[in-house]
């Protein structure tokens, strides 16, 4: 029963090998989907290319449904998987700063490495910026440590916060995603670009 490493079915070192293999799949899919192009990525914010929206939400609902079914079949113990903790102020502020970084730079960290791997110089410069940004956070940590650790809510699931079952929330997310896919398809026809 999964997660394999936590249930000691595989060793910690095998886990690192698996991380490497998972990474290959991750990078391969990102690049094949066009995530190595900043102009394709930024397209979602102008409507001419909504590949980000489609890939991102299809992936999220695929994994979400997969986890629910695997749990139902007794293949994975969901209590043992890592769930991101929730700190409300820093999640909002950090997300907003990342959003600004996305529209300025056209990448997020994962896609920038994927893009650098095929030779995009703008991606390599973006990565240089990432290192500078993380270093600034680390060096000035005492200035924002209080804010960083404020508003801790534990590790709640959205379903618990809304008083829904996991299955009902997943259903809602799927409906929302399908709605967004329609908007995305409409936007690509409404704001087409011949070449970019």
């Amino acid at each position: 029963m999964g997660p394999l490493v936590i249930n000691e079915i595989i060793s910690a070192n095998t886990n690192l090998l698996i991380a490497f293999l998972i990474g290959i799949g991750f990078g391969f899919v990102l690049e094949s989907s066009g995530f190595s192009s900043s102009r394709k990525l930024a397209g979602v914010f102008y409507g001419y290319d909504t590949v980000v929206l489609k890939v991102f939400f299809t992936a999220a609902i695929t994994a979400m449904i997969g986890l629910l079914f695997m749990s139902l079949f007794g293949w994975i113990d969901l209590d043992l998987i890592y769930i991101n903790p929730t700190y409300v102020p820093s999640a909002i502020a950090g997300g907003a700063i990342m959003g600004a970084g996305f529209i300025f730079g056209g990448f997020c960290p994962g896609t920038s490495f994927c893009s650098a791997a095929i030779g995009k110089i703008d991606a390599i410069v973006f990565i240089g910026g990432l290192f500078i940004g993380i270093l600034i956070f680390a060096e000035g940590y005492s200035l924002w440590e209080g804010f960083y650790k404020a508003g801790f809510k534990g590790i709640p699931k959205l379903s618990e916060s809304l008083g829904l079952t996991d299955g009902l929330l997943a259903f809602g997310v799927i409906i929302a995603a399908i709605g967004m896919f329609y908007v995305g398809e409409w936007a690509e026809k409404k704001f087409p670009r011949e070449e970019y």
């Binding site: 690192l16 695929t62 056209g106």
Partner: protein
Amino acid sequence: MKNNVDRSKKYLNPYLGGILLGLVLLAANYMSGRGLGASGALKSTIISSVNAIAPDHAENSAYYNEYNSTHPEPLKTWLVFQMLGLIVGGFLSGAIAGRLKFKVEHSPKITSKRRLIFALIGGVLFGFGSQLGRGCTSGSALSGMAVMSLGGFITMAAIFGTAFMLAYFLRKNWI
């Protein structure tokens, strides 16, 4: 137009790409009990470098101390190996599709220099934000959403919401 059609054929159908990415994320949860990520590996690299270059500084600074106390070997972590794989996977896909090329990709309306300056600014912002938000688009938003983390949904909404709000002011860079 022909060019665009040729290009779009070479990329994977986005819904198929999404399902495959979802399966990769599912496999990570099943085998390793965790989601995907990116910025965490960069953080490990920086901490490891500071540990090596300025060990006294790392010892006296709260941020490095907190990390080092729980991660004895910053470079021998899951995300570092996953990111090495990501580079290999991206390269393989680019090689198969014939997309390996050194270039600065930018809108014809702007210069390469302008593109690179904005890429640098964007990188600094994203790097900083990823630390404040405890993970980036992969680790916090995508992986967080898959496990229904409240924080993951909040970060996802904040990233995309802010980018949409600022898109108008930066349109010259992209369209």
